[in-house]
Homo-oligomer: 251 residues x 2
DNA sequence: AGGGAATGTTGACTTGAGTCAATAAGGGGA
DNA sequence: TCCCCTTATTGACTCAAGTCAACATTCCCT
């Protein structure tokens, strides 16, 4: 078992909210892919009233920890969050990476306590959505209720995809699939699908994909040699998307 | 890639409902662990009105298939269901086994089409819960809305546990964890936690756990030799639960 | 009850990813 | 800016689980 090194950033206080981080959901550029999706302007205003925007996080800082009381779900506004759980014997499993516009914390609803921990991989801003308020609002706003059911369902479907990946795929396939997932999610946010910076370390990638760091590193090198990627540290350029897609499911 | 053998049972017609399979949720012995959980009698009646009980399935018959239109979620009343998805290159991944009192089909909500297929592992009866009705009812019944959110959340948390299992654990650990999961779920239904019949084949177990049949078989033999289990075909007796629990997370 | 297909078991061998180890390259703090 | 600690890369070797193959058993179907 690996002993966890002390994380100096963990217990930094949450920054005071010295200025407005975002006036409202209405003028947030992420609204089309985030919770407000499919809501009308007046409905967005109501949602807006329950959303709290006072949580900028430093790199390495936790948003919540496993077994903390569950109060809220969170939407990422900027930066990247990683969710992970710790097994009984102390090993970590990264269960997901969350980019702007994506919702995390839904796994805490069932038990009223968070089933995983969430940590900022870089400076990150999140919107906090208190769950009891969201429930009340959902009861009166069919679109919102529907959308939240859909978000949870999507999380299930995505987890199942990861299950398939972990169960059936080679190291190459796994890494290719992750890169394509990031690429697609970037596209949704109007960012380049081919050039991006990995906010997570090789360790995190390996942990998420069920591989060791060494294997991840070797796969990157191999793909670079094949001309599929250009890897320079955390900067990734996908040179041949088709080839990458083939690698992602060619067994 | 394995070619799928033709499944002779697949297209049998749904049996006509010649008698009442279950008068109502109110007198269903599973109500305490199923959807009605935490509802009051009058609320259960309302839920009861939208539940349809006309779906007994033969072994091997499908309840729904991947990419079918999503209309309903289903509660298992008797028998066992298996959910699985087919990857682009034709491989199968079993994503879950569902026992009486458990809900399946929630992964279809996000897309309005089922993200997986569901098949009966033995003769099985299910309750169909039309989702639009459930949504409407949820809006007026906070307990129901809450409980359904919790069910979805639990599915997420359980998938994450499987992810951890697939990502980090040895063959022994995986098999031990599955057996313990079945044992716990049996206990919830007042069945023996130590003696039960596996309704799924070794192939399904292997597929679910990301192992080959041969490996599953070898693990069973090994555990039997160690005196942890008695395995006789599909009949399992857990002889030493503590040892099994140690095997489930001892790395 | 009998026969044949499907399912399960066991053994021998192979292999992809893990482990261990050495080295290189970054990057944040004083 | 330099230094040190963290992160990443590469190589050599090992091993757990996969593959291939033979055989045993079970479960349907007639």
């Amino acid at each position: 078992m690996n002993t966890q090194l002390i994380d100096l950033n963990e217990d930094l206080p949450v920054q005071p909210c010295s200025h407005e981080y975002q006036a409202s959901c209405n003028n947030c550029r992420l609204s089309s892919i985030c919770l407000p999706f499919a809501l009308e302007a007046s409905e967005i205003d109501q949602l807006d009233n329950i959303v709290q925007r006072s949580k900028p996080l430093q790199k390495g800082q936790h948003l919540y920890r496993e077994s903390d009381d569950f109060q809220s779900v969170f939407a990422v506004r900027s930066g990247t969050m990683k969710a992970y759980r710790t097994t009984d014997d102390g090993r970590e499993q990264v269960t997901g990476f969350y980019f702007p516009g994506e919702i995390l914390g839904m796994d805490g609803i069932s038990n009223n306590s968070h089933a995983s921990s969430a940590k900022a991989l870089e400076t990150a801003a999140v919107c906090e959505i208190p769950f009891t308020s969201l429930e009340k609002l959902s009861a009166s706003m069919p679109h919102l209720q529907r959308h939240f059911f859909q978000l949870m369902s999507r999380e299930i479907a995505e987890d199942q995809q990861l299950i398939t990946l972990l169960s059936k795929s080679s190291a190459d396939e796994r890494v290719a699939a992750l890169l394509l997932s990031i690429s697609t999610r970037n596209a949704r946010r109007k960012l380049s699908p081919t050039n991006f910076r990995l906010s997570m370390s090789r360790v995190d990638i390996g942990n998420y994909l069920g591989l060791t760091v060494e294997t991840v590193s070797r796969v990157f090198s191999r793909m670079q040699k094949l001309g599929v990627l250009r890897v320079e540290n955390k900067e990734i350029e996908i040179l041949d998307t088709d080839a990458l897609m083939k690698m992602a499911d060619a067994h």
